[in-house]
């Protein structure tokens, strides 16, 4: 338990036990987040489209992801006769592995990360770029034309957008070097710290340079994760289901898991690089203890609000005996949320003094994770919003945007950022 008081991430501190615990927590957390995202996507998309979405399994379909997961687990796992068995079998695992490995360096807080590598961002980009291997292998191993075309599209798309993405990332890293010592960093935690020191999120740095780089990254990350409007690899109207046409059951669900995990991962990169990572809004300007306390109430307020919505929903259910169980379920769910809110409130109040007490440490950690997750959640919502709004790009247009628009702009932003950085220094 020597680690417990330290301000380092377990990987850096060399504490393997806590690293393992963190890994488990993050793995479970991401899996739950994927399920929540699944539900949220279906619900939000439905409401965009004048529908209700899942309503039957659990109150307001809350248990739908569980039902889906169960169904997928129990489904027959079909491997096409002419498929390359081994590659077909291993492809989803590679995708999953790549998208989950990335989380080792995602900084949910200054010490709330599995590890802090000094090449953190490089590691993230590198490993997430391995995810495409899973798609390519799946497409090829299926031995079918639609998956093959999906895989070809996907690989070309990812390789193209990685370039613009990387250049945008570099321009953010360049900004980290604008300190006294003049040394930048690739470490995810240090990047956030640099923003803290410079007192500005990089999205607002050298306005509009940071914003442009951020926008480029935000576009490229949608392309990287094969989401609408860049979901050509799985364009259902053209390629039925693209690279996973031949997949079913558990293996298919692994692809979905990998896709959503990758979405969360790239959003984490964006949050870390441009949106101040775990930092709450205005940590420098509004640093008085009163402000600190006010902001630390946000987690409790959020869950309280969710609980309130849950109770409202339960109250608004039709008073028919059919809805008895649903109403009760929703009420229990809301009550759980309320309890969580209460717990968070207690922690926030108990840890309001910035001493080194356990409560204060807890409160801090919760704040960090809360703000980080909130920022990531905004991106998740954007992903859904994009999907509901836009048609799909065509392949050549996608390439055109990647190479002829995004690449020059990101290169230009990089150069201008460098020049401005030198001048400012």
């Amino acid at each position: 338990m020597s680690y417990f008081g330290s301000q380092l991430s377990p990987g850096v501190a060399g504490n393997q036990l806590w690293a393992l615990i963190y890994i488990s927590i993050i793995f479970a957390g991401v899996s739950v987040a994927v399920m929540a995202m699944n539900w949220l996507e279906r619900k939000a998309l439905a409401h965009f489209q004048v529908r209700l979405g899942p309503m039957r399994v659990g109150p307001h379909g809350l248990l739908q992801p569980i039902a889906d997961a169960l169904k997928l687990l129990l489904k027959e796992d079909i491997i096409p006769a002419e498929a390359d068995q081994f590659v077909f079998w291993i492809a989803p695992l590679i995708g999953l592995l790549a998208s989950f490995t990335v989380y080792t360096v995602v900084p949910f807080g200054p010490s709330q990360a599995v590890s802090d590598m000094n090449i953190g961002i490089l590691f993230m980009l590198g490993v997430s770029s391995l995810g495409v291997l899973g798609i390519v292998m799946a497409g090829w191993a299926s031995n079918s034309h639609y998956p093959l075309i999906g895989a070809l599209r996907s690989s070309a798309q990812m390789v193209s957008y990685e370039v613009a993405m990387g250049l945008a990332v570099v321009s953010a890293i360049l900004m980290t070097s604008l300190n006294e010592s003049g040394t930048g960093t690739l470490s995810m935690i240090e990047i956030v710290r640099a923003q803290q020191q410079q007192g500005i999120w990089f999205i607002f740095k050298f306005f509009p340079l940071g914003l442009i780089a951020f926008v480029i990254f935000a576009i490229a990350m949608v392309a990287e994760t094969n989401r609408a409007p860049f979901d050509l690899a799985e364009a259902e109207s053209e390629l039925t289901a693209g690279f996973h046409t031949e997949y079913s059951g558990l293996r298919w669900s692994l692809f979905m898991l990998a896709e959503y995990a990758a979405m969360i991962a790239v959003s984490s990169i964006a949050v870390t690089l441009w949106l101040g990572g775990w930092m709450r809004p205005f940590p420098n300007a509004l640093s008085a203890p009163a402000w600190e306390f006010l902001f630390s109430l946000f987690p409790a307020l959020t869950f309280g609000g969710l609980a309130g919505i849950g109770f409202l929903g339960a109250a608004r259910m039709p008073s028919h005996s059919f809805f008895k169980i649903q109403r009760a379920g929703l009420a229990v769910f809301a009550a759980l949320l309320g309890l969580l809110a209460l717990l968070l409130l207690v922690i926030a109040i108990a840890g309001r003094n910035a001493d080194n007490s356990i409560a204060a440490r807890f409160r801090e950690g919760i704040d960090y994770v809360y703000w980080f997750v909130l920022k990531v959640a905004v991106f998740m919502y954007l992903f859904i919003w994009y999907r509901a709004t836009w048609p799909r790009y065509r392949f050549d247009q996608l390439m055109k945007i990647g190479w002829k628009v995004m690449l020059p702009i990101s290169l230009g932003v990089l150069i201008v950022t460098a020049i401005v950085g030198v001048i400012v220094k």
């Binding site: 489209q49 034309h145 093959l148 075309i149 053209e238 039925t240 799909r392």
Partner: protein, 393 residues
Amino acid sequence: MSVPTKPEPANALTNEVSNLDLATSEKPYLDSNELVINMGPQHPATHGVLRVILKLDGEKVLGTECVIGYLHRGVEKIAENRTYTMFNPYVDRMDYVAAVSNGLGYCEAVEKLLNVEAPPRAKYIRVILTELNRIASHQLWLGTHALDIGAMTPLFYTFRDREEILKIFEKYCGARLTTHAFRIGGCQYETYAGFEKEVENYLAFLPPKIDEYEALLTGNRIWLERTKNVGVISAADAIALGVTGPVLRASGVKWDLRKAQPYAAYSDFDFEIPTGKNGDTFDRYMVRMVEMRQSLRIIEQAVGRIPEGPIMAKVPKVIKPAVGEIYHSIEAPKGELGYFIVSDGSTQPYRVRVRPPSFVNLQALDIMVRGMLVADVVAVIGTLDIVLGEVDR
């Protein structure tokens, strides 16, 4: 009416179409050029059971071949074994999203053969229902077309609004899709109480919804990129290929049977024929969007002055047209829908030939997608607005 230029001799269009070498028997070593993929008959974007064999170079389409007939029910053969009246409901099953138009065409053709004319009140009701059906058909087209191009949301909006039309149909004749709304000689049903009110409500209801569709699509950059200069067909090619309806009009030919050879009561109404310039997918989209608004205009004029009077002409109980043959066509939502009926003087038609617009329009797919990408094939199939029930009959 603008007269298009005389079409080129059509050899270039057709000769290559069919000799598609699908059996790529001798592949050179490290051959990476041609990929033959089979799109359909079960495919999300082929609007039913169309099967398109695509020959691709990477993603570029080198040639297509349509394989149709999966939904062939022998409608024309059935017609020869049914009386004129009995065959009437069958026509609804061809273009089932525009069943009212099919019925109108058939009833008018038989009426013409019988040399009777529906009373004016019936004609007005026919116009209102047909135009409502045209809007419903275009809405369904818009939703599925947008879905093909990847925009999910318009589908649900258009279905929501189409529902209101189907409700009117249901109240009028009890059916929503295959309505069998008209009878030979007029209409069977008088309008229900409140019919005019509901239609007028719909007239006020729809324009903001069309604005909504347009807000989602018309100015959308991705939509523009996906539709502009995609699936271009020139006026000359369109005429040579017998393409009709919005597809022809989008190529710049201002030709609409409702104006050119007015039937029912269309000569009473004031409306415009929208045309496009480039004959690309975007023009076809715009033409149909404007057509919806023009249909509303027609309905608005018609519903205000439905004449009083009978709804059924005096037609014999047993329909036995004299020996002879007749061709009658109407402007269905998809194009020229024609019926060629041969009578031998008996109670059953000797031959009924349906000239289906979807069938003929689908022929244009090949020249529209050559040299384009796979994604455009999907867009073009959508923009042709085919209904396989009508293609295969």
